[in-house]
Subunit: 548 residues, 2 copies
């Protein structure tokens, strides 16, 4: 029996386009005599639909899409994720479901049991949990079909009362299938394989895991679908961050890849995954929102250099424009370094000093509030005037502005709201400064794209004479250690000193984190690559007393 | 028996300060020989705590706060909302609970059964639902104690499988108590009374409803606690949008207000409630975040005039500063109207033309992209230069910038991101333009604060010669009708024509709504006064195909 994985890149809400992709994949499967073809969770609608589900429109469009797929199911069994109305007289409006289409009929509709409502997930907003369990039958095989969270019933992170696979296993299935929409973070790929491996061993069953691929605003789905034999060995793996179609042979409870030999290479380097994730994130944000061109402010610093490099890799040099905008406080080498980067990357750029505009703004402000000393106001002013020029360029040319803030800056508010915090999408807002350096070095491994001077010079915002980041912030290694424990691991401030961290520094850092919740409230969407990114998935109140 | 309502204004996460308020109220109750004193849902922590619950810190601090309250419970029974750890080996970390303190002990801990996860609520993120039911006993009376959503088991909007009051009623209670944290919207006050009235009639029991008061960022809790007799008649009502303490006599299943005669006035005018809500919202945002002073751009238009008036009413004229920043395209009367408003309100102001800065910016941009025609870029530019000046003033003086966008503008993107969309808090971002006029007229009823010319002139952004809002948008009456049906009532575009709306206009409006999701993503928090505000509670994906 031939079973195929359809790992596709959907657009949320775009049922017509998603159906087209699914149909094309079905036709390919039929050409290859595939018996059963599997698509990911909520494939028809795209994941996550969030509050689009408050509109009945999607249910109606999905219905006609399903009817078209039914016609194809006369030639190949199909598992595809969708929504199904809850017809009980209480509860949420839909089930998150897997339709099993066979012989022109919807043979089974399997509902999702475990609905995640933590982190970036909000499935209890619109979905009703399943409470009954049945396997599906495709040809000669009986399948325990589960949806995403349904196999994560008992992990270090979260435990559920119900274990769907335990229930399904009572019906003696031959195979486990899980259809998912599992977003990437740097530890996730390994976690998934290990989790499913424990299940294959526990139930002595092979398993196929089918994930969504592609970015939906800030969430990046990595694909990386895979199949395991019952001993936990890997039978097949799909591509990371790309669409893929893979046919497996399933005979005597053994899965094997029909096309290519199993590559035994271990899970890829985390930096390589992050690199691919960010490129996928940029590409899909532009493509799915209908844009081609990007603009950014290039300061000669490491953050903008990395964003510019990623943008060129994602969109092509011809679609990226860099604006170099020195101020009276910029160092000589900044413009030279930024120019060298543009030349290495081959993107076009212009140098435009903000000094005349800054001088005029200072004069206009003198007319408003008289003579004052230079302070943070004038630093922010430079950053905001640059944003004015960048946004004018963006408006005039139809280019999207790329934000260049990193996670350390976002955390401690070391950035200007409506200034360098502007942008349509934050490319590296989920990378701590230390990770920014690591990724820059990773990109430079074979070929020095990012000039060495940009990587080695001391970080500075260059908004007053001889300014250095280290004037206001602790060393980035230390800062990032504190931030990670507090933001990602949820350690309370008093616990941080247990890690040998200096209380005074911890307090200084957390005071900054807390005081800048208002800036993050208005930040652009941040491409997520960690377990806890700013934005979606971290709902810290703006007005609050924070932990001490 | 004397039962008292403690309707207090908490700050989320600030357990020490909340405990102080609760303690003060307990001492007042003890002075008045009160037998039972009731506080609102999650009173110790403040509602909504959101992801603060990921920090164990709060559980620890609440524990010591409870110990202090226990000492007072030797003199007066106390019901107070809090969190309670889930000790099962699965599920979410906490219960949302009501502690019943009596004779120095925690006599009962009642868990919340129905956990809302729609709209602005996310209680399935951290809370575990209750499944067992017991009444509490205070003195001679048995009480069915429920928490907020627990009485909303069967409404037009949402139905639950369980009805906690049906379960509790089997134990023959004498009284229903509900402790809530129910945020205001303009229809909510009436809804609550009507709902609880059906319960008093169904179970033939009197009921006391205790709500939180005060704003938490965008959510405004109106208080409006009340008591009903078993026939559904109102026995007592607490203040709207203010703290209150009210003692009730409870004898022979009849509740009566010990202090004042029941005012039979029907539910207040919705505009009056909205007015009070917004003033409460501004006050608490400033006070709870530690600010006194506000700044805003005053254009001579109705939106900024209304925001300025509300700000003066909330913060005092001495704390509000208006910046009048005409551009080359401002009409003569704009500055005169804005000045008249400042004089009426008594706040200080300055006039500062943006023309010199605009001319310089145009020149700087010419150096970047050469000669181009005047288009939206130059309109946005004016708006952004104003924001640069306002934010510089804000930084220099420590004043918070008030945003002046209205809901109609936010919906169709008729505003400039990083321009007039800037601000620490959006004061009228949940009022459609037609409501902006209604509220302005309401405020002017006794006393013409907002100059008549501001109310009667045709709306214009004044960003190009002779510009009128009606050049780009349908009439506001029509626009707001479409927006309300689509945004608040979740009607799909195809359904809108059933309301007799012109399809072409509907399509034009919704195209704008959809195309501007990215702007709203970066908008300030919006004070919520409707059933569906932008921001918290409306999670529409930025990258998506929207309903057609």
């Amino acid at each position: 029996m031939k079973i195929a994985i359809g790992q596709l890149n959907y657009r949320v809400g775009d049922i017509e386009q998603n159906l087209q992709k699914i149909t094309d994949c079905c036709l390919k499967a039929i050409d290859n005599q595939v018996d059963l073809l599997i698509f990911s969770e909520l494939a028809l609608l795209g994941y996550p639909p969030k509050d689009l589900l408050s509109y009945k429109y999607y249910e109606k469009i999905q219905k006609s899409a399903l009817e078209k797929l039914l016609a194809l199911s006369t030639q190949c069994d199909i598992v595809v994720g969708g929504i199904y109305p809850n017809d009980k007289d209480y509860g949420n409006p839909y089930y998150n479901c897997a339709f099993f289409l066979s012989e022109g009929k919807i043979k089974n509709t399997i509902f999702k049991t475990l609905l995640p409502s933590y982190d970036v997930f909000d499935e209890t907003r619109f979905f009703e949990p399943n409470q009954t369990f049945e396997c599906i039958q495709s040809g000669q095989i009986k399948i325990a079909l589960t949806i995403c969270e349904d196999i994560w019933d008992n992990t270090e992170f979260k435990k559920y009362e119900l274990a769907p696979l335990v229930k399904l296993n009572k019906q003696s299935p031959d195979l486990i299938i899980n259809i998912s929409a599992s977003p990437f973070h740097s530890l996730k790929i390994k976690d998934r394989i290990e989790l499913l491996r424990t299940k294959t061993k526990e139930f002595q069953l092979p398993a196929i895991y089918v994930n969504q691929v592609g970015a939906q605003t800030e969430l990046i789905f990595d694909g990386n679908s895979f199949a395991l034999n019952k001993d936990g060995s890997i039978a097949a793996r799909c591509l990371a961050f790309e669409e893929d179609f893979k046919i497996l042979d399933f005979e005597h409870q053994i899965l094997s890849d029909t096309q290519v030999k199993l590559h035994t290479k271990s899970a890829s380097n985390p930096l390589e995954s992050i690199h691919k994730a960010l490129i996928r994130g940029i590409k899909d944000y532009f493509q799915k929102n209908g844009f081609q061109k990007a603009v950014l402010g290039s300061s000669g610093g490491i953050d903008s250099a990395l964003v510019q490099t990623l943008a060129v890799q994602a969109l092509g040099a011809e679609n990226v424009f860099a604006l170099l905008m020195p101020s009276p406080y910029s160092s000589d080498h900044s413009v030279a370094d930024a120019e060298e980067l543009c030349k290495n990357l081959g993107n076009s750029y212009t140098i435009a000093s903000i000094s005349p505009l800054y001088v005029q703004a200072i004069e206009s402000l003198y007319n408003i509030y008289g003579a004052t000393d230079f302070d943070l106001t004038e630093e922010n002013l430079q950053s905001r005037l640059r944003a004015v020029l960048l946004m004018a360029y963006s408006n005039k040319k139809g280019s999207l502005l790329l934000n260049t803030s990193n996670k350390s800056e976002l955390a401690v508010g070391y950035g200007t709201l409506y200034g360098d915090m502007c942008g349509a999408i934050s490319v590296i807002g989920d990378l701590y400064k230390t990770q920014v350096y690591e990724l820059a070095n990773f990109i430079n491994i074979d070929n020095c794209i990012i000039p060495e001077a940009i990587i080695t010079k001391e970080p500075s915002a260059e908004l007053r004479p001889n300014q250095k980041d280290s004037d206001s912030l602790p060393d980035y290694e230390l800062l990032d250690t504190i931030l990670k424990l507090y933001i990602e691991e949820g350690k309370s401030p008093s616990e941080l000193t247990d890690f040998g961290l200096n209380q005074k520094v911890v307090n200084q850092v957390l005071r900054l984190v807390h005081a800048n919740e208002y800036k993050r409230f208005q930040a652009p969407p941040v491409l997520r690559v960690s377990q806890k990114a700013f934005g979606l998935g971290r709902n810290i109140p703006l007005t609050a007393k924070y932990p001490t």
